[in-house]
């Protein structure tokens, strides 16, 4: 849970503080709740995983035990701790905008399930 009060520490201007308020209001910010076998089934579908009923039950149990640990963590007072966006305290890793070599087409297509006209060929998809 990103508490925007802490974000004020690095939101310098009035506009930036307003911006944080908007964002915190607009997006769901985590929180814990128990998952059901149906939730597992939904996530599995989104991940293209095929699970048996038995596996769904087992996995729901496993994940819920994990979530319990997080619930415990949430009891901590984190008021004075800056939210973590990344596990290592490193920022602004960039490259210069300089084009370099790409792979030869044959290498690009080496893993393609099917190839024609130097393209990856896939089952026909409807436009989205």
């Amino acid at each position: 849970m990103i508490e925007h009060a802490q974000c004020y520490n690095w939101a310098a201007s009035e506009n930036q503080r307003t911006a944080f308020d908007t964002l915190v209001g607009a997006y769901p910010q985590g929180g814990c709740m128990k998952l059901t076998a149906q939730d597992i089934a939904d996530v599995a579908r989104l991940s293209r995983l095929e699970l048996t009923e038995e596996e769904k039950e087992t996995l729901a149990g496993h994940i819920n035990r994990l979530l319990e640990h997080f619930e415990k963590l949430q009891q901590l007072d984190t008021e004075a701790v800056e939210p973590t966006s990344h596990v290592i305290p490193v920022f602004n890793v960039f490259r210069k905008d300089e084009p370099g070599e790409s792979l030869p087409v044959n290498d690009v297509l080496a893993n393609a399930p099917d190839v024609a006209d130097d393209c990856f060929v896939v089952p026909r998809v409807v436009e989205t």
């Binding site: 990103i2 690095w10 939101a11 310098a12 201007s13 506009n15 930036q16 307003t18 911006a19 944080f20 908007t22 964002l23 607009a26 997006y27 910010q29 939904d42 996530v43 989104l46 293209r48 966006s85 990344h86 596990v87 290592i88 490193v90 920022f91 602004n92 890793v93 960039f94 490259r95 210069k96 905008d97 300089e98 084009p99 370099g100 070599e101 790409s102 792979l103 087409v105 690009v108 297509l109 893993n111 099917d114 024609a116 006209d117 130097d118 393209c119 990856f120 060929v121 896939v122 089952p123 026909r124 998809v125 409807v126 436009e127 989205t128």
Partner: protein
């Protein structure tokens, strides 16, 4: 019958004109042989590591500021997870709850009732590959576009206090055009709708006038020109009103614009909001921007198109229509500006540029910077016309020559002996010759066929190779024909 009002939201994607992709060094270009600009990063091969293109971040920050957004001191990249063959990693690197810029606006003139269209967010992401649909049951995929820096700009409905929303197809088109102009002025994208470097997906809903809740919205895809955006949105507004008036219900869905038939057709129903399982991308560390960096970018913003439009109208006295033509291209605007400050009649300059110069540019297919014309040269030409050295018709021919050769107007006039002849005696002898040679026409004129005057003028001009002062020719012809 109830009156309905439309509300339009715009989601716009813009490809940046960087030299390399967002997270790898593959080249960014349009077209080319398929799958020739790909590497392990943009193909999503295991073990590859994306590294952020600094220039792309700078471009998007510049754009966010020009769109009056607040840039947050920190932003992070998320993975947006979904399965589709144009997305080799099965996730798109995008931004979620901490985008680059928020709470901005774009001004549109909306037929004189200036509006500030609210922008919810500007965020950074990467483009997907391109699906080439082929006949049969197979699709071809080209990943050259995969990983090209992409900026998403989304409007906000309802707008916050003091800002506005888009409420007609005309406003939707203008919003998009203003956005395009701004990005063009910033030099961050070539914003070509027909090549897909600017793509727009409007969503449309209608509600009975006075109702505060929004109606059910539909999203329109496949709009590949400003005209299509106007027509598609306009069609969709009318279609929804028709459905409601007939007692039906608008279904939340994505519809495809069919340009040939001029209609939108359903593509898929959107009953369930897609679940993208966003999470912070562990491969990319957060970005932090100092206040100094943001302010430096802000101070480097150029004069933006609408500010230029207003200045051209107030300082140079141009009509809005002429000013619009000039500001639509930053090159043309800059050229005009340079001419107009150095010349006493800025309207006349505008006229030359919007007619003669644009005509030549269109005819030759050249860009302004590919020609040899300079603002000083154009002003030099206009001064020759003002001083009576050449007449307007000769000036057009001289202009054409300047356009191709880069010579100055006085040079061309001198070399070709094009100085206007204003000497009455010289012109009079030609006039006499013409009248003597055409007794029939003289008779007809005197019998009342006065429109023959311009024919006589033409004859005299031909004799003088177009150099005679037209006013003098007219005056002398009248005097002699009517005496």
């Amino acid at each position: 019958m109830a009156e309905y009002e439309p509300i339009i939201g715009m989601e716009v994607h813009v490809e940046l004109q960087t030299r390399s992709k967002m997270f790898c060094s593959c080249e960014v270009a349009f077209g080319g042989e398929p799958n020739t600009r790909c590497c392990p990063v943009c193909l999503g091969l295991p073990g590859s590591l994306p590294v952020i293109n600094e220039k792309a971040v700078e471009y998007m920050a510049r754009a966010a500021l020009a769109l009056n957004c607040t840039i947050l001191p920190q932003c992070i990249f998320h993975r947006k997870n979904y399965y589709y063959p144009d997305l080799p990693k099965n996730y798109q690197i995008s931004q979620y709850d901490y985008p680059l810029g928020v709470n901005g606006w774009v001004e549109i003139l909306a037929g004189g009732r200036s509006k500030k269209i609210a922008i919810r967010r500007v965020h950074m992401e990467e483009d997907t590959g391109k699906l080439l649909h082929v006949s049969g049951n197979r699709s071809y995929v080209d990943y050259n576009r995969s990983g090209v820096p992409l900026m998403e700009i989304v409007t906000q409905n309802p707008p916050p206090e003091g800002l506005d929303q888009i409420e007609s197809a005309e406003e939707a088109r203008e919003y998009l055009q203003r956005l395009r102009q701004i990005l063009l002025y910033l030099g961050v994208s070539d914003v070509k709708m027909e090549e897909g470097s600017m793509r727009c997906e409007p969503n449309v809903s209608v509600r009975p006038k006075g109702q505060s809740e929004f109606g059910v919205k539909t999203e329109i895809k496949n709009l590949n020109s400003f005209r299509a955006v106007y027509l598609g949105v306009d069609y969709e507004i009318k279609r929804q009103i028709r459905v409601l008036e007939q007692g039906g219900k608008v279904v939340q869905e994505t519809r495809r614009w069919d340009d040939e038939r001029g209609v939108t057709v359903p593509m898929r129903s959107k009953e369930f909001e897609q679940e993208y399982r966003y999470f912070p991308d562990p491969d990319l560390v957060p970005l932090r921007f100092t206040e100094e960096w943001i302010e430096k970018l802000r101070s480097e913003l150029p004069e933006l198109p609408l500010a230029k439009l207003k200045r051209f109208m107030s300082d140079y006295g141009l009509a809005q229509a002429d000013a619009e033509v000039l500001i639509d291209s930053p090159d043309l605007a800059e050229f005009y500006d340079a001419c107009a400050v150095g010349y006493k009649d800025p309207k006349a300059v505008a006229n030359w540029i919007t007619t003669e110069l644009l005509r030549l540019l269109n005819a030759t297919g050249k860009k302004l910077n590919e020609t040899k014309l300079t603002p000083t040269h154009l002003c030099g030409l206009l001064e020759l016309v003002d001083g009576g050295t050449i007449n307007r018709n000769t000036a057009k021919a001289v202009f054409e020559e300047m356009f191709t050769t880069g010579k100055t107007a006085p040079e061309i006039v001198r070399q070709k002996g094009l100085e206007q002849v204003s000497d009455e005696a010289a012109i009079e002898s030609v006039v006499n010759r013409v009248l003597d040679a055409n007794p029939n026409e003289v008779k007809r004129y005197r019998a009342g066929e006065i429109k023959l005057l311009s024919w006589f003028v033409g004859q005299v001009m031909r004799e003088t190779k177009g150099k005679a002062n037209p006013a003098t020719v007219n005056k002398l012809l009248r005097e002699k024909l009517e005496s």
